[in-house]
């Protein structure tokens, strides 16, 4: 028997509880950038999952973990996928220590299911990436997904306090713990978050939680141009006010959101959405002061959202970060307005269109480029935009794009001077190359 067959029979040994499939029709649903795995294994316990990894390691197979699949195509093309380890049956909330404001959950639980559970005790995990219904905790952490409210609450690195991770040899290890402050040993949590499954597979996570805000309100400010709106953003960030999110929507993105989500934004202006949370008295005062400040920067119109229309608006913003070709640009806040002009110029030169939503207070832009099939023009435009992001002391990552385009670019860009240190870590953690190669920075 060849290695694959031996592996398969070893897997079958515990197939009564974990689902193992090599049925071509089913496998098609699990393609990553068009590449099909040989097997999909869906364990129901961490122990089983760890066993699968150990077997893959033993037989020299290449393994990729998958949560809800919403961000599985992030990254460069995978080299080879033998085993796809589906985590979506690891869904236990192991603990919700509500009085301690912490919880411990398995990786396959969806964010929406977790939030529903936490909300019963008036708490939430302060992460708001797109697609909470499909995204799993493990997938969110592995891809370091975040949303508009990272302005106030930070990203996964600020909220994870402990992890259990399946190592390449199948051993399950602990990093961090269940308390909110911990400096014992290296902070490996940081290393696993955003490592796209190249160092280990997250089995469960401990989080720091927040109380649900008492109230929430969103102001929509309309400006003639990006410059005025970003002046407003900088003024707000340097003020006493504490918005939870500051999102800039450009005219093209506004028009998309109107068409696809039925919101009603002006389509020839820039919209700045400002979210406030907390006690009503503090929100009221911040709303008043924001209005006054906005006048200084030439605001044209102010709209006020609360309740369902507010939830719907933020849902639309989050979803808009996931176009067919979407670049995530991270630069300094002070560079955002200039960068938006550059996007316009570059697109004009290459006969492309752009629609941008930005976590303006974090300097993170999601630039959607169209048409998505203009591969050659896109290749050139992305190279130029990346160069400008670098000049602005930041980076550009192509988070979403068709396979055809992916073949011709590096979605991450050239690795930096610290890349050899990342390679050394990868070699230590995964010496046999058990975790799928090719997708992460520099092909890790």
């Amino acid at each position: 028997m060849g290695e694959i067959e031996t592996f398969e029979s070893a897997l079958q040994a515990f197939a009564s509880t974990a689902r193992v499939t090599s049925d071509a029709d089913i496998l098609r649903n699990y393609a990553v950038d068009g590449l099909l795995p040989l097997f999909v294994v869906t364990p129901t316990t961490t122990k089983q999952a760890a066993h699968v990894v150990a077997l893959a390691n033993q037989y020299g197979l290449s393994l990729l973990a998958r949560g809800g699949g919403s961000r599985i195509s992030v990254g460069n093309l995978p080299e080879r996928i033998d085993v796809l380890l589906e985590t979506n049956r690891l869904t236990h909330v192991l603990e919700h220590e509500a009085p301690d404001l912490t919880c411990h959950v398995e990786a396959g639980l969806t964010l929406a299911a977790l939030q529903a559970k936490l909300a019963k005790k008036g708490q939430w995990l302060a992460l708001d990436p797109a697609d909470a219904a499909q995204s799993t905790v493990g997938g969110i952490l592995a891809s370091n997904a975040s949303g508009p409210k990272r302005l106030r609450y930070g990203s996964a690195r600020d909220l994870v306090i402990g992890l259990h991770v399946i190592q390449a040899n199948g051993e399950v290890t602990r990093s961090g713990g269940r308390v909110v402050k911990n400096v014992a040993g290296y902070d490996l949590n940081k290393l696993y978050i955003g490592s796209l499954g190249t160092l280990g597979i997250i089995a469960d996570a401990n989080f720091k939680l927040h109380p649900l805000p008492i109230a929430e309100r969103t102001l929509l400010l309309t400006f003639t141009n990006a410059g005025d709106s970003m002046q407003m953003v900088i003024a707000l960030l340097g003020s006493l006010l504490v918005p939870s999110a500051l999102e800039l929507v450009d005219p093209a993105a506004a028009s998309d959101m109107n068409d696809f989500f039925g919101v009603n934004l002006p389509t020839n202006r820039y919209t700045l959405a400002i979210d406030f949370e907390g006690a009503t008295a503090t929100i009221d005062r911040q709303v008043d002061e924001t209005r006054q400040l906005a006048r200084k920067y030439g605001v044209l119109m102010v709209d006020d959202l609360a309740g369902e229309s507010q939830d719907h608006f933020w849902e639309a913003v989050r979803e808009h970060t996931q176009g067919t070709v979407t670049c995530k640009v991270a630069i300094l806040v002070s560079q955002v307005a200039i960068y938006l002009q550059i996007v316009e110029q570059v697109c004009h030169r290459h006969d492309l269109e752009a629609a941008v939503v930005a976590h303006a207070g974090n300097g993170i832009l999601f630039v959607e480029l169209r048409p998505s099939d203009a591969t050659y023009r896109l290749v050139e435009a992305i190279a130029e935009l990346r160069l400008h992001a670098k000049e602005a002391r930041g980076s550009l990552v192509v988070e979403r794009c068709p396979v055809d385009l992916k073949r011709r670019i590096s979605v991450w860009g050239e690795p930096g001077s610290d890349f050899y240190l990342m390679q050394r870590l990868k070699n230590q953690f995964d010496p046999n190359g058990t975790f799928v190669k090719g997708r992460f920075v520099g092909g890790l």
Binding site: R178, Y186, D187, N189, S239, L332, V333, D418, L425
Partner: protein
């Protein structure tokens, strides 16, 4: 003998260097830095043999570089001669992180203490590692900004040291610790290469090396530049002191404050022993007959602060607070804080020596754990005081002792170990902000198993394969020379 001494079972990682080799290395280093910045006489080195923990060991050479390039060149000289290198900030560390247990070269950052850049539009500062923590905040205050992490030693500790230990402080309860405020680093690797990790912008592609290196206690790299966040000063600050007749009432108050989601900027607890020591030292007006006092601070927008104060006072009342006093003005607020921040020093007045632990427990377990701490110390015939970050569940029991009394050090060691075992048993950790250093190497096994530790060793292997940087720390390591400091 060290309080955490392990029986040497194998030969040490590094032998102390010979006099002739030392002369050679001093010559190389002097050619690089100038003789003035290379200390090597017994008298000069004495100052660098200890930190604020209870161990000590004399380095062979102390160097004071002026630039990143100097640091890189020093490391290359160390590599050439195979001599260990230990970075040192102000020596205020509490776990022995800066103690050169195999001698070698200690790099002191006194000359690399500048603020290189402050960018108010982008809320960033770029600083050198030798900058004193409080000096950054002082420089930002006139513009209305500050740097959040505020260890109690902030008047002397350096930001480089804070990064090495992932330092906390009373105000990290809502704002997070050092790692939540640092976005990028310039480092020198164990080969002497200069590398940038992270950056001014967020989400640098690749592994979060910045996050990994913060808190690595000088065992992975030497930090030569730090990019930090800066934050607007709050509009309003209210500081209050609540007085309790039992420890349980005080700790139940903390639990309920957190559980209701009213999270103040700081909740600090001091017990009777500490109150008496502090009062003798600072005259902050703390009652001396109380079982415990909570020092709490809430800050932010005026409206929010007023509301929070009301909620907190109500919770204190519910748990039988004898009195709640709100600081009437800034002077009184400073006085309250002076009592807290000088607490360790104040205890020095009533005991020749003390040993401070840094365990963290789930906040709901505070009443139980505090009782156990008391029982453990009583069983060893030791006095203990508690002054700590109650809001985070981060304990700081101070065990008083006198190393001149035969057997006392051993009893302190055992009590300390048992306290950390209790922290681990309730789901906590052995250190919340002081680091493992040489002090808690053994206790790592209370919370991590062999395999967990092995993964951490892999990380060290990737960055510092020959243990040139800060050897013999973090992991259980036999054979070292550290001594207990004689006060």
């Amino acid at each position: 003998m060290s309080i955490t001494a392990l029986t040497p079972t194998t030969s040490p990682l590094f032998e102390r260097i010979s006099e002739s080799k030392k002369e050679e290395v001093v010559r190389d280093l002097s050619a690089l830095l100038g003789a003035k910045y290379v200390l090597h006489t017994f008298y000069d080195l004495m100052l660098y043999e200890y930190d604020a923990s209870i161990d000590r060991c004399t380095p062979d050479i102390v160097v004071l570089p002026a630039s990143t390039e100097d640091v890189a060149a020093i490391v290359k000289i160390a590599v050439h001669h195979n001599i260990p290198v230990v970075p040192r900030g102000a020596g205020t560390g509490l776990s022995g992180g800066a103690i050169p247990i195999y001698g070698g070269i200690v790099i002191v950052f006194t000359r690399m203490n500048r603020i290189l850049e402050v960018d108010y539009d982008n809320l960033r500062a770029v600083v050198q590692p030798g900058l004193v923590n409080l000096y950054l905040t002082n420089a930002l205050n006139p513009q209305g900004f500050y740097y959040v992490p505020d260890p109690s030693s902030q008047r002397s500790c350096t930001i480089g040291g804070n990064v090495g230990e992932n330092a906390g402080g009373p105000h990290t309860l809502i704002y997070g610790v050092t790692t939540n405020h640092v976005l990028g680093l310039e480092i020198v690797t164990s080969e002497g290469e200069i590398v940038q990790v992270g950056g001014l912008a967020q989400d640098t592609p690749g592994y979060d090396l910045t996050g990994l290196l913060i808190g690595s206690e000088g065992t992975l790299c030497i930090v030569t530049k730090i990019i930090t966040r800066i934050v607007h000063l709050p509009e309003a600050v209210k500081t209050m002191v609540a007085v309790f007749d039992t420890m349980d009432d005080a700790s139940n108050t903390v639990s309920e404050i957190i559980a209701t989601g009213v999270i103040p900027a700081a909740i600090e607890m001091m017990d009777q022993m500490i109150l008496q020591a502090v009062e003798a030292d600072s005259h902050a007006g703390y009652p001396q007959d109380a079982a415990a006092v909570l020092l709490m601070e809430t800050e932010g927008l005026r409206e929010g602060v007023t509301e929070q104060v009301e909620q907190i006072v109500a919770i204190c009342d519910k748990h039988h607070a004898r009195a709640v006093r709100i600081a009437a003005n800034e002077a009184e607020r400073q006085l309250f804080w002076a009592g807290r921040k000088n607490a360790f020093g104040a205890v020095g007045r009533i005991s020749p020596e003390f040993y401070v632990q840094d365990g963290v427990v789930p906040r709901t377990r505070l009443p139980y754990v505090l009782r156990r701490v008391g029982e453990i110390c009583t069983s060893y015939g030791l006095r203990v005081g508690n002054v700590f970050h109650a809001g985070d569940g981060n304990l700081h029991p101070l065990i008083l002792f006198d190393s001149q009394i035969p057997g006392e050090v051993e009893r302190v060691r055992k009590a300390g170990h048992e306290i950390l075992a209790v922290c681990a048993e309730v789901g906590g950790t052995i250190t919340g902000e002081h680091g493992v250093g040489i002090e808690k190497q053994e206790e790592m096994a209370l919370i991590f198993n062999e395999v967990d530790l092995q993964v951490m060793q892999q990380v060290r292997q990737a960055w510092n394969p020959h243990q040139l940087f800060n050897p013999g720390k973090l992991f259980p390591m036999p054979g070292r020379c550290a001594d207990v400091k004689q006060l």
